[in-house]
């Protein structure tokens, strides 16, 4: 398959692995920020192929995992008690809320639809003028432009029955929070390629300078991932720190200006609570006042309290890279995909789910 098979080429992978092995002389901990990259590393068996001196730490880049429980509870409440058609990306369905997940809410009669695009939700709202439609707008900078566009489109169509429940979070503040943690073990980052496709490169420069940490914007295929790792390791071994772009075929330094413009048109930056991690300044996207008619929080007068739950779940430590999932005492015991304590065990991009599903049964 064009643009795919060449990035899964066994010979190229082998050559990159040999280069990494030749380059590395000491222990390095590299964080891949994005859950899509974690998925790629696991799906292709790359973690097992890397030399022991290169340890990958799985970052907080799974938007589903960091969505606060209280927001999931709001989504459940909207579809069960407010006669709302709740539209969501598929990943959110299994994530546990305080009492139930959206999947369980659907089984109890909630009208939950899995969509690939928020514009489909706008279409559902247009076709069902007597029903309220809410799109659960989850994701990083990648999904934010489309979700913003849905609000703009709904306003153009003068729809009064469409709104979004924004759970959007931003990557650079999370990377900052990880570096700010005294116990952090991260020596270099693979930054999330698709986030940078939208946002460009520049917002990572201050991070590199402040923390003197290599950041390489990286893609998702095996050749991308290994090339990104090689670039980080090469910098680290030389004692250098720079912002580099491995994913040049997709990412340019300015990003996608019209997408960034849409985000700025609809959303503003505010402090956001991250499940398992806590509050991070300027890390969330909230619907601006001029679009408040399309903001489910305002429309249904919802308030979000800081999470009180997850006391047993160590997902924060996992997402900050302090522990690997199997080091959590609950892993595979009291926490499984069927009975999760936290989101990383059920999201397909969650690190705990990846380790659980891909580990051997005895």
């Amino acid at each position: 398959m064009k643009y795919l098979s060449e990035y899964r080429d066994a010979n190229l992978v082998d050559a990159l692995l040999r280069k990494i092995k030749r380059t590395v002389t000491r222990q390095w901990n590299i964080m891949e920020v994005c859950g899509g990259q974690t998925h790629g590393l696991v799906r292709h068996g790359i973690l097992e192929m890397l030399p022991e001196k290169v340890q990958m730490i799985h970052g907080p880049g799974c938007p589903v995992c960091v969505t606060p429980v209280s927001l999931i509870d709001k989504a459940v409440e909207l579809c069960l008690h407010q006669n709302v058609i709740l539209c969501s990306y598929g990943d959110m369905l299994r994530v546990p809320g305080t009492e139930m997940s959206l999947q369980q809410a659907r089984a109890k009669g909630g009208d939950v639809k899995i969509l690939y695009s928020p514009l489909e939700a706008v279409e559902i709202a247009r076709k069902n003028p007597r029903r309220e439609v809410v799109f659960f707008a989850v994701g990083f900078e990648t999904t934010a432009p489309a979700n913003a566009l849905s609000v703009v489109r709904a306003k153009q169509l003068q729809l009064s029955n469409y709104s979004i429940l924004s759970a959007h979070v931003l990557v650079p503040p999370a990377m900052e929070a990880i570096m700010n943690d005294e116990e952090t073990q991260v020596s270099g980052f693979l930054a999330a390629g698709h986030v940078c496709t939208v946002m460009g490169l520049r917002e990572y420069e201050p991070l590199v300078e402040k923390w003197k940490v290599p950041v390489v914007v990286t893609g998702f295929e095996p050749v991308d991932l290994l090339e990104g790792i090689l670039m980080v390791v090469t910098q680290l071994e030389k004692g250098e720190y720079r912002l580099e772009n491995q994913y040049k075929r997709v990412v340019n330094s300015d990003g996608n200006r019209s997408a960034v413009g849409l985000i700025g048109q609809v959303f503003e930056y505010r402090e956001r609570d991250w499940r398992g991690i806590g509050e991070i300044p300027s890390s969330g996207l909230f619907v601006k006042d001029e679009f408040r008619d399309f903001d489910a929080m305002a429309k249904y007068q919802l308030t979000v309290r800081p999470d009180q739950t997850d006391t047993e779940c160590l997902s924060g430590d996992v997402m900050k890279g302090k522990i690997k999932p199997p080091e959590c005492p609950h892993f595979g015991e009291t926490c499984t995909p069927e009975h999760p304590l936290g989101a990383p065990m059920v999201s397909s991009e969650g690190a705990c789910a990846a380790y659980y599903q891909y580990s051997m049964k005895s």
């Binding site: 992978v13 068996g45 990943d91 369905l93 899995i114 969509l115 994701g139 095996p222 069927e338």
Partner: protein, 351 residues
Amino acid sequence: MNKKPHFPGNCPASLLDFDTITLGHGGGGKLTQQLLNSGVFTLLDNEWLQEQGDAAVINVKEKMAFSTDSFVVSPIIFPGGTIGDLAVNGTVNDLAVSGALPEFLSLSFILEEGLNMEHFWAILLSIREACATAGVHVITGDTKVVERGKGDQIFINTTGLGRVHQKADLGMQRICAGDAVILSGPLARHGIAIMSKREGLEFETKLESDTRPLHEICQKLIGTLGSSIRLMRDPTRGGVATVLHEIARQTKLGVDLFEKNLPIEDEVGGACEMLGLDPLFVANEGLFVAVVESDQAGHCLQIIQEWEHGKNAAIIGAITEEHARNVVLNSTIGGRRVLPQTSGELLPRIC
């Protein structure tokens, strides 16, 4: 086999004073008779249906295979098929991979009030054609109608009976370390064809479902290779991965899967990438997995590849004593990882 029915036009709606199914069609009275006589009995006519008894009576002297399945697919008419031929082929294939030659089917409908007669007619026609292709007779059946909102247009149950080939000796207990795992064709086609038409997911593709009967090729393999064929399964819901997990779990052996050998069409692979789905977990219809004694794997592959739908068949794996109870995928790039089990509904990824 492809003869058109003897109705003016293609749909009995023109002859009848209704164009949708109503609750009365399930009431057992005049409307039910009208529906059956003008449609089902005429189309599927055979000596057993003509009896119109409470049960069909048949003579059985040999070892038989018996299987049942229910079909709830949405949409009910999709590229390459309908819920009707799926219901016939589904049960036919459960018998076929059990080493049996399918002979008789039961056919039960649960119809939702308001079902469009033209759709029902199209489904009946596809059932007739699928039965003719598979050489099976529908000898008993039932029709019920539920209120609007209590069903999803149409649900079908079929139960099948077939004669088991004398040389068939199939079963999980016959699988040994060293056996080869063969897949009869490219995977994930049916699931992706269905998804391409599902509300909210529509995308442009010419892909059609691969629904088809497998009895001829399965009978031929058993006739030629006899007990060297250890097991056959059709990897429908849950996909090829689920069949491999069943093998690993029940035999307490390991399965090595070779990603680079997996036959997959470009369009299916592309759609899976786009939708964030692993083709190993996507449903198939006209496909089977065979576990074969290693000495005969080449011969088996050759026979399947000579079949009109088997040219992309491949040896996709091997049974091993290592990593017992686990399916290990050897990735295209040389990595190894455990193939996970699905924990329920197939959900697309966010990005």
